[in-house]
Assembly symmetry: C2
Homo-oligomer: 176 residues x 2
């Protein structure tokens, strides 16, 4: 990720990023949700949260929440995520970056929606803090256009951006 | 709101509901975002959060966040929200309820998108906890279809549901 000054950082875990994105992933039929976190203390915080909602009191109180939280995998790096997916026998996914800033190589979200119909695996990446680092974006196979609302303000939370993106990519619009 | 057992409750404030929904509202050109909270201690918590992000250190650190948080109005009741909008000279809005459960009277989200083009004011309502109370929904002018993903799982957070709903209603899809 980068911080406000576009310096490379590792961002801290936000509890509701885990909940909200897992629930949206489950709603939109995403196969798995990986949280990339190289810091040991932050990883143990994730474990604590997941234990509460999967095997602990949270999961007993709210089994539907447990179902979503069970999707979460914690990994040290994107390379480890790619290994995990490859080891599951799902093939080697293409990586897709998201950003609030359009670049010359950005592709339309609707074009990626069409690509997903092929059934090939894709790893869709979202950044917390001030977004994914430039070199990560540059090395991704694809970069998606930013989400446009209907104003010049483009500072959605990562939770909102992920939810909207999944809806644009996978939502059943015809029934809405 | 209702709780897990569909008993009527007043739900506590969730900090990120304020941030995420204000940011989405700003992104999608919503005129104002009202948080209905009748409990004094919870209202003072909202005030504390808003003060931090509007006149305090948060607003200086992140002016874009301040711009979103400035949209938030805290009100005791939906009747007070309607009064506020009427007093602004924007007319008397029709009330629109959202719910994860479809009813016979639910209308299509796309139909409401068309209605918004008239320029008439609408007050779109989202519930926290286990959703808006049944009698509130029954007394609303309209009820929208639930958001469908592409699975049977329909337990989005209110933050995600509000973001997706605003995108379906106001998003510039042509440019995505």
């Amino acid at each position: 990720m980068v911080n406000k000054n576009r310096e490379r950082i590792t961002s801290a875990v936000t509890n509701l990023d885990l909940h909200d994105i897992a629930r949206a992933a489950k709603t939109y039929g995403v196969r798995s949700f990986h949280v990339v976190m190289p810091l040991a203390d932050q990883k143990s915080l994730i474990d604590k949260i997941l234990n509460h909602w999967i095997s602990g009191a949270g999961g007993r109180y709210n089994p539907l929440r447990r179902e979503a939280m069970e999707m979460i995998q914690t990994k040290n790096s994107v390379a480890d995520v790619l290994d995990h997916i490859r080891n599951e026998g799902a093939g080697v996914p293409k990586t897709v970056a998201t950003s609030a800033r359009k670049q010359a190589r950005s592709i339309r979200i609707s074009a990626f929606r069409d690509m997903l119909r092929s059934g090939e695996p894709y790893l869709l990446n979202f950044g917390t803090a001030w977004g994914l680092a430039d070199d990560f974006i540059a090395h991704s196979d694809y970069l998606l256009n930013p989400i446009r609302g209907n104003s010049d303000y483009n500072h959605l939370s990562v939770r909102s951006a992920a939810a909207i993106m999944l809806d644009r990519l996978m939502g059943m619009k015809g029934e809405g």
